[in-house]
Amino acid sequence: MDLLHDLLFDYTLRTVALGTAALGLASGALGAFAVLRRQSLLGDAVSHAALPGIVLAFLLTGSKELIVLVAGAFASGWLGSVFVSQIRARSRVPGDSALGIVLAVFFGFGLVLLTYVQGRPDAAQAGLDRFLFGQAATLVAGDVMVIVILGGVALAALLLFWKEFKLLSFDPEFGASLGFPIGRLDLALTTVLVLAIVIGLQAVGVVLMAALVVAPAAAARQWTDSLGTMVWLSALFGAVSGVLGALWSGGTAGLPTGPAIVLAATGIVTLSLLFAPRRGLVWTTWRRSRQRSRIRADTVLADLYALYRQHGSLDHGHSVAVLDAMSDGPGGAARVLPVLAEEGWARPLPDRSWAITGEGLRRAEDLLARLGRAENE
């Protein structure tokens, strides 16, 4: 409740939360496309590749305004993504290695520039290293404005090219046959993704920004099969992760924002993977075990029916041991028979043997008829 109070009435915290919500929104929405296109780790390469641009922008202008640094980050992040696609297209080096090379080399070069700048006598460079792990607390109102505007531009581009991006993500060959410039659209979508990534770097850091591209989208995917719903959910999850992480880090001394936001997003993913209806692990496990027990019950019912056909009497009981021997594993029948009794398909006789009921007969014949139809088809 304290946090909620702070969020509503503490100016600094409100600014920070607004900023992290906006960047989470943008990276969540664009991340949905990255994940669907199997480019989850492009975000990792791009965010690392942005580092040299940040330092170069500072070196060239001497300014630490977010807009300047973001421009530098955008340029070198974009260049990194172009390198990845060029290496992939023009050499036999696999795509994942291309990502790894760009990620490590650009970042390494960024560190060279960063340490070079830090070695210079003026102290003005202090604070550039907040881009490594992120410090949302350093966001001021002007920075938030930059994030909101650039994030808005990214989302607007997404809405403007919605149909094209959708086609590109699900069936690029079909798109090309319709005459869409698939290559240019691919570049456009990547460019927008780069924009959504670089605005998050100050708050989340280059090392962990990738998670904010992947996690909200992977979580959103579990709840829906529709692209529109997935993008909105992903944006929402991103925004929530941003705010939760910022609040957590703001309330704990020495806790960097980036990891806090990433863990918040990871929490949302974990819940989604476990509990999302239809796809979630808890749901599928439960459904699978129910299916298994239904199949087991049907098998025992079919066995009882077969025995009835041999003996021709509803009052002729059969021992559990016989039913066990007929089905696969031992001990299966004893567990299933009470279930059949509950449904009214079988009944226990006084001598602890079991017989099929009239209703059970109809059910078994129905089952076998359906099975026969399925086989004929």
Partner: protein, 370 residues
């Protein structure tokens, strides 16, 4: 060069070679980014093992951290195995989460220990010579050199012992499984080797350089050769080159050593990407140009053969007529005709008439037959 400088370079070369060897298989098996994941998550292993043991120099720390690398790979596979997310997304979910936990644990509980987040990324290669390995009062050299030397030896042993298996399961996993090799067991053993290497290297050069050393030299070597043993050897050489040239770049710029080495790894890869014989961009462009010219020369020869001896020969086989007929520019025509003349396919008669030689006729017939 002082002993310290020499020791730093020696250590860097050992790290580079130790990383490049297993890196070759990472690149070939398209699991390069597992190195990125592992090099980050071993930090959590180091932190947890440190909390358990309380000693940053214990060799147990390396095992604990390496175990976390294997856990990372297993976790990625479990998540991918649910069918709910794809492999790339699974990697992107697992390693930031584990790395975040490690960073948070460090900043909350280990602020005053020698475990800080900058060192994690950058490594402390410059300080490595100051941590000595002393046995019974005798100084045996930098501790890192012994650790990494041991790990390099382990990698070499693993490589020699399982070369056939690694090769087969990399290039033909189906056949490997059919022959009774267990791809899963080999994969995990191999990932354990990668993890141990990553942990050892991590301590001296930081996580990013581990990724650079594991991927860039093997990828460059892969562009230079088709033979696995050659690729392995070249990777080691390129890695060593990155280490030494990177060190001097760092000295010259007074900048991060690890960063400079990663930069040089990028430079080496770029050189291979551009100039690799037969496969680089330059070779591709030249091949493309040559094919274009050859095609044009064949076209010209066919055109000339077609009109040879015919009534319109005078008109059709003149240089001045070609731009209109073949839709080439004037310069292009000049160039192609010169090319064809130089290869003795035709001769230019006075008045600009072209006449095929016997070789030229042969060329035209062959091109049409195809």
């Amino acid at each position: 060069m002082s002993t310290i400088e020499l020791e730093i370079q020696l250590l860097a070369v050992v790290v580079a070679v130790a990383c490049a060897l297993p890196g070759v298989f990472l690149v070939l098996r398209r699991t390069a980014l597992l190195s990125d994941a592992i090099s980050h998550t071993v930090l959590l292993g180091i932190v947890l093992a440190f909390f358990a043991i309380g000693d940053l120099t214990s060799p147990l720390l390396i095992l604990g951290a390496a175990a976390m690398g294997v856990v990372t790979v297993a976790l990625v596979q479990v998540i991918e195995g649910t069918g709910l997310v794809r492999e790339d997304a699974a990697i992107g979910l697992v390693f930031p989460a584990l790395f975040s936990i490690a960073v948070i644990l460090i900043s909350l509980y280990a602020g005053d220990v020698h475990l800080d987040t900058d060192a994690v990324l950058l490594g402390e290669l410059a300080l490595a010579p100051f941590r000595r390995f002393v046995v019974g009062g005798r100084d045996l050299g930098p501790r890192g050199l012994w650790t990494m030397g041991g790990i390099l030896l382990l990698n070499l042993l693993f490589l020699f012992a399982f070369f056939k298996e690694l090769k087969l399961s990399t290039f033909d996993p189906g056949l490997a499984a059919a022959l009774g090799l267990s791809p899963v067991l080999l994969h995990y053993a191999y990932m354990a080797v990668v993890s141990i290497t990553a942990v050892g290297a991590f301590d001296s050069v930081g996580s990013i350089l581990v990724v650079a050393f594991m991927i860039a030299p093997p990828a460059a070597a892969y562009l230079l050769s088709d033979r696995l043993p050659v690729v392995l050897l070249l990777s080691a050489l390129i890695g060593a080159h990155c280490a030494i040239s990177g060190y001097w770049l760092a000295r010259w710029m007074d900048a991060s050593i690890a960063g400079s080495m990663a930069t040089m790894a990028g430079v080496d890869f770029l050189l291979a990407f551009l100039f690799a014989p037969g496969r680089g961009l330059v070779a591709q462009a030249r091949r493309h140009l040559r094919q274009k010219t050859e095609f044009a020369v064949s076209m010209l020869a066919i055109h000339l053969l077609n009109h040879e001896g015919g009534p319109e020969e005078e008109r059709e086989c003149r240089v001045g007529h070609l731009p209109e007929h073949l839709l080439w520019s004037e310069e292009q025509v000049q160039r192609i005709v010169r090319d064809a003349e130089r290869s003795d396919l035709l001769e230019v008669r006075s008045g600009g008439t072209l006449r095929l030689t016997e070789i030229g006729r042969e060329r035209a017939r062959r091109a049409m037959a195809i």
